[in-house]
Symmetry: C2
Subunit: 266 residues, 2 copies
DNA sequence: CGATGACTTGACTGCTGTCAACGTGCGTGG
DNA sequence: CCACGCACGTTGACAGCAGTCAAGTCATCG
């Protein structure tokens, strides 16, 4: 995957940005690590040439060697069922770590594919773990990131298990918006790098439903859609529609849809 | 579940089983840890008196101090939405660790409630982390467990996002069965410690649907149900119905239901 | 033995999936 | 430059799975 077609003259030197200079330093691993320790972390990280759209970072069953941090661009991770059906498990933006689910068994349970031209930091896990034994704060940070991943997954379970199609898409858009905010992008305007089909698959909806909902949201003045470009016009109301946590993770609002709300007991 | 009505005179002394003597040692943290190291781990673990059914181990928002290992009995973890709606996130059997999702933020995002009389090992996280810096294999084991948790959550996302009601319940039963096997219990016969409502909530189904499916499965000769007692008669066929991974986590079988299978692309 | 809660069963409804046709944008090749 | 193909997206018609509502049964317990 790393090597594919050199394209242009992207000299490796240009890509070699140290952790300390990376704008994602607040999001990625290094939080709370001192300067000299940061350099040690930096030294084990490998930065490959950008991955063109559609290329795999790794495939299902690939042996686990590294964790990957997204530096720019985006990827989707997905599993495939026996019959070749694809199940999108997540979309990954700059600053996010991929491959945490592979530590346990030694191979990747999911595949990761670039949704656009994407550059990656490769972190050899063995080295990271060794370094972790020497740097408790790094170790702690790693545990925190994994814990956060678990928490996020739990949040996704709620969305998939209990929410209506409308709430799912609204939640998805708000969540994306929040993630963009964190990266210094506009909260109200962004481009989707994934297809309607990917979104639907991820949210457990048919792609037609996603398309219809985009149209409905637009008609209701919640947002404007033009192909991949999304403009959130009434973010507040979209939060209401999402029936849940709005800004960065605080709960909000209730919901009263008919279906998909089985719980009511105990 | 192993114990159903333990009650009697469970003196605290009886419960004080060292890690090394615990029958769950293969499942819980200590895998791959040497004898003397095991004693050190043992020394930081606190074993409380059993939790009666319905009691909380912790509640949402409780400050995070400890991880908890189930020693006997079972619990459910759940979140509550603003309007008091409960969302069951998981059921936890002996040997499983609870609270991993609390490391990141310092408080518990979920509540944990005993489904029956349940005993617990309390592991102060701070101590565990310190010990981890001294015992790389312990540290590694902790990472593996968290990674597995992430992997399991991903599996749940597939079930919730893509599967029909029938497949969900079948998956749930097979998964339970597998977990019982791992603990040395019968794969074909067990007692559910949770209510139909809990199951439905967990699977994103109405409790009526769960009830109907139990009936249908029974009519089709897949299993026998009597209140909480389940006997899997045709485990193989139930696997087929689950449309996925059957034994311990290996993929299997296909599915061809009509609804709930939006993905089909790319 | 009645109260309570858990579970079952039936009737009905509707959200959302499936199927299908049609637009739209983009790249390729003539 | 245009025709063409192709992938992606939109929209409509229809149907079915599973939710809601409601009534009834069963078990446990005081």
């Amino acid at each position: 995957m790393p090597t594919r077609k050199l394209e242009k003259v992207v000299s490796l030197k240009d890509i070699r940005v140290a952790c300390r200079e990376c704008s994602l330093i607040e999001i990625c691993l290094p939080v709370g690590i001192g300067q000299s320790d940061l350099d040690r972390l930096d030294s084990i990280i490998d930065r490959k040439r950008p991955l063109p759209r559609g290329d795999h970072l790794f495939r299902i069953g690939d042996p686990f060697q590294c964790l990957y941090a997204v530096r720019s661009g985006s990827l989707k991770t997905y599993a495939t069922s026996e019959d070749g059906q694809e199940q999108v498990m997540g979309f990954h933006l700059p600053g996010e770590l991929i491959g945490l689910d592979a530590i346990a068994e030694g191979d990747h349970p999911l595949a990761a594919k670039a949704l656009e031209t994407t550059s990656i930091c490769e972190i050899p896990f063995h080295d990271l773990e060794s370094l972790g034994t020497q740097l408790p704060s790094l170790q702690h940070q790693l545990l925190r990131i994994m814990s956060k991943e678990i928490r996020d997954d739990e949040h996704n379970m709620v969305i998939l298990g209990q929410k209506s199609a409308e709430e799912r898409l609204a939640s998805f858009l708000i969540s994306l918006s929040n993630r963009f905010i964190r990266r210094g992008f506009s909260a109200h305007q962004f481009n989707l790098s994934m297809s309607r089909s990917d979104i639907g698959n991820y949210l457990g909806l048919a792609l037609e439903t996603v398309s219809r909902l985009f149209t409905r949201f637009q008609n209701e003045g919640l947002l404007r859609v033009d192909r991949k470009h999304i403009e959130l016009i009434d973010r507040e109301r979209l939060c209401v529609f999402s029936g849940a946590r709005c800004s960065h993770g605080t709960p909000k609002q209730h919901s009263q849809h008919s279906q998909h709300r089985p719980s009511k007991d105990q």
